[in-house]
Symmetry: C2
Subunit: 145 residues, 2 copies
DNA sequence: GCATCATGCCGGATGACATCGACCGCCGCC
DNA sequence: GGCGGCGGTCGATGTCATCCGGCATGATGC
């Protein structure tokens, strides 16, 4: 659906969402009204979900991250899912195939913080926790080909 | 480090990174030059890593996502890490404690696409794959308290 | 083959916006 | 009590986004 110019716009905006239209226009060889049109369309059709900001969690006090696999106890699936949605330290969660029903990313202030959160779901689900030691690939775009 | 006003700015920008300074200023009760100053500071100190754009991968043709746990064979850790960084379909990867050394998110065009990518690392690492069925929590901010 | 229409683009005018400089008030410090 | 730095406001200026009218292109229907 998106053509080559759309893809270039997406790439540019991924690197800096606050680039002025004029600059974007110059980079892709169009006028600013045209770029404005395209962005509006991309946003309307949902390809661009939102313009947002990448934050360093460490500087907000979340010096620790964990990836937790969550297996709800029998009959507790929906309860656990609701719980997951309500724990604000879970900043991302996927529902997946396999024994591990959910895979969640936790933002934590310290290791006791982890303990507290896992405790709060321990009676409704089994969990396997992996502490994040490094992030070799930080969120990036898939190929746009 | 960030005060209450900074946190409100972050919240506003997370929802819409292209909000004009004037609007931000009105929302937090400051003038636009002040807001501009604060944003510049937040960006310089790295708390704001980047202004970026949230994209719907499905509309780029990536109708499938998978979470893959990757255990490099003995002696292959660095090789595998380099490989991971070079596979563009891996849009996110954490290095974690435990048997699973890496946890990666893959963007895929179809199920055979998954097979192709896993094949390309099968002789250097063991993998466990979970297909994403739903995303109960889409990337969001942790509490800013 | 031609008229018609929709689409995507441009250029210029207008109004909104960001930026810059000058100035002010508050607070901690000597 | 005077001083300096920090964080703020205000107003002027230049840049920018948006709106509007018009044009070229390609598809559609007669």
């Amino acid at each position: 659906m998106p053509d080559d110019i759309d893809r270039r716009l997406l790439t540019l905006l991924t690197a800096n969402a606050r680039l002025p239209l004029k600059e974007l226009a110059a980079q892709v060889g169009l006028s600013s009204p045209s770029v404005s049109d395209r962005l509006r369309r991309l946003e309307e059709q949902g390809l661009i979900r939102a313009f947002t900001v990448e934050i360093d969690p460490a500087q907000l006090g979340y010096t620790l991250q964990a990836i937790v696999r969550i297996r709800p106890l029998p009959g507790r699936l929906h309860l656990v899912q609701r719980l997951i949605e309500e724990i604000p330290e879970i900043t991302e969660c996927d529902k997946v195939t396999g024994d591990d029903c959910f895979i969640a990313r936790l933002m934590l202030r310290d290791i006791s913080h982890l303990d507290r959160i896992l405790d709060s779901i321990a009676d409704k689900a089994e969990t396997s926790t992996a502490i994040v030691k490094a992030q070799p690939v930080l969120r990036r775009l898939p190929p746009l080909a």
